[in-house]
Symmetry: C2
Subunit: 468 residues, 2 copies
Amino acid sequence: MSPETEKLLSALGGRLGAVGVLAGSDVDQRYRDDPDGKLGALPEAVLRPRDTEGVAAALAACNDLGQPVVVQGGRTGLTGAARVQPGEIVLSLERMTGLDAPDRQAASIVAEAGATLQAVQEAADGASLMFGVDMGARGSATVGGNVATNAGGIRVLRYGMYRAQVLGLEAVLADGTVLTSLKGLPKDNSGYDLSQLFIGTEGTLGVVTRAALRLHPKPVSEVNAFCALSSLDAAIALLGLLRQKLGPLLSAYEVNFAPLYDTMVASMDMPAPLPAGSSVYVLAEIQGSEPERDGERFAEVLMQAVEDGVIDDVVVAQSPREVRALWAVREDANRVLFSIKGLVGVDIGIPLARMGIFLREADAAIHAVDPGADIYVFGHLGDGNLHYQVRTVDPAAAYDIVYRGVAAAGGGVSAEHGIGLDKKKWLHLVRSDAEIATMRRRKAALDPRNILNPGRVFDLIPPAFAKS
Amino acid sequence: MSPETEKLLSALGGRLGAVGVLAGSDVDQRYRDDPDGKLGALPEAVLRPRDTEGVAAALAACNDLGQPVVVQGGRTGLTGAARVQPGEIVLSLERMTGLDAPDRQAASIVAEAGATLQAVQEAADGASLMFGVDMGARGSATVGGNVATNAGGIRVLRYGMYRAQVLGLEAVLADGTVLTSLKGLPKDNSGYDLSQLFIGTEGTLGVVTRAALRLHPKPVSEVNAFCALSSLDAAIALLGLLRQKLGPLLSAYEVNFAPLYDTMVASMDMPAPLPAGSSVYVLAEIQGSEPERDGERFAEVLMQAVEDGVIDDVVVAQSPREVRALWAVREDANRVLFSIKGLVGVDIGIPLARMGIFLREADAAIHAVDPGADIYVFGHLGDGNLHYQVRTVDPAAAYDIVYRGVAAAGGGVSAEHGIGLDKKKWLHLVRSDAEIATMRRRKAALDPRNILNPGRVFDLIPPAFAKS
């Protein structure tokens, strides 16, 4: 163990308790794992406080010693923000998994940072309420990580990003200062809303310890449909139609472009809802409060779209089991994509008006470099968010083509995954020097010793000025 | 003119153009007016840039000279944030009233900071879309002021606070740095969301110059109802019932407590929708997409509530004219209240579960001090936000009783109006020393010379440390 780590553990003394510190050979491999397979360093120590006071003590000690800290929740991030870098120790929220009982009248719940998304969903459900965020990683992803990345997922078009779910936070600054704002008021302009400091800033400005989260009335009806369409334009037209006719009933609008669906169907271990071969597939979902009526309204709009030639083919789920089955098809994309090694994968946001031209131009440019490249695209079309993957012999060229295309289209290089370590070299394509300099000023003001998730999102010292 | 102002105007040269600067006797009284009648200082100069570059030039010059600046939009704020303090010059956004055409497909619009709320609403309406924020001051309140105060209003329970409408901002920092983020993407985690710096921070961290705002599908149906109820508990029960049965259809839920409604009816220049004499009146509104069905569903729930004894009496609007008439009754509260001089007025957020006991205790404590006090309460019950007014011979005692009661109930001393100059002495009741110190750190990091709206929200130098 390095003298730095020894000094830290001695400074902490017994304040985190016997199970609150892992060091040396007690440090498990899972603290280095990354879901995309990139292995981090093995940390010399893992701090596992069981409450906010423990987090404050841990950070104060690290700050005094200038010890860099990487914060870990469910380790499901896709940009390396939680991947351990040499010299970093881990601060894990894994022992802080408490959940208060939901407040039914206020429609809110207070959760500790280490509680999983699924635990929040289930607690809400048990109180006949619903949490507005959902995603495939629900069983592992945690409240703290979801806040830190301003998580998105499949129901953003109805319920908003994670930011819209946060009624208040408790967080600890780098120097151990605890900021608590957990009143859970839907309307409160009593001074700066400090919670905004921690949402989407990827653990670089503070460590979230608890969150007061908004819950919604539990939908009484839930119906979805799987549609085959001839083009992106048709899918965008259908989105407009569903929004116009169904208003806030529409709760998800997911897309899957050829040839991804065809590849999935070829090896799927469940019946395909529609045959392969179309250009675009859409999963649309509604959530409502009138079971006897909502499905009928949804079906009417879909049938009209078929008659008008917007949709080529459609299946509507008739039961909760069928609803789940269509979602399983949607999530099956990950099975196929995770099985392909070395895939270029990006998470991009693009204005709908420029999505078609972006896709055509990126496709042509990638195939000009590598005629054998395969391009797999799916995502959250209702939010203009695509997950775009390329199997190519020239990954560097593919990243460059896609990100420059995104920037030219007025899009973002990360729609929902964040920047972490892995995307920061492309941040300048979509954010100005003035914006990045302002991010640095915010970081320097709150974490002057740069101990919290250093080097995530941006380098505090611009590379040109860094010591070589 | 003071040497400081002369120096500033000379530094600015002709950069704001001939009509871009008012000085000396050209400065109009309206720059000192405050809607609650408190008169500010007459500023020596008013800077009126017509574009972002002009705002940047103005702020850079002021920052160089350490010249304090108060930012003015529509001057409708109710906490004195725009009230001129001695030595301050005014930066007015009144010439920046431009509005882009709404983007129908993205459902968004880009507006300059000086555009009024009503102009945004009308532009949205012209494109068959809707803006989610509305309030009585719509004709004067501006986009910049609405952003700076994170405006609320009457439809927060459906569409959220102003923060939820902001897809991106352009703003100028104290040193003239321009930050532009107007892509308008619904999902974008490409680095820190710097727009959050400016929402609800009351012009203390930067001057908003443009905003990309979210629009919603225009509701096809709009129905409201005015109900008389016997108690706050009944009004809270009705809110729960409407939420459960109608889900997102419910778009407003306003309350008016006795004796305010009785006082209004006694001098109203329109027919009262229901006779005076009940304890609580509620205006509930729905917005939907099925005209032939929404009103019927709403009426069914209301009739059930009458049968169950939750509602004592109700009128449902049958036409757009009647819908507007009920809203006119709601807005009539301001006519009565603005006519009473020296009223204690606060804008508080309280958890619904503790609202009843807060109201009873505050009423008893105020009447113990002043048995002749009149208490007038109305507000946005669906958001736990009350506007609470007291006519009393002891205003200081009333403020103290109400704000301490709010703090004890876990509420906020400003739900939607902000802190400004007038409420900062109560901020410490609801925010910890650590939170206020963190607000100071943010301010000092971005406006180190403290030129932007100084002394609003908090004093940068805590009073105990200030030079006497």
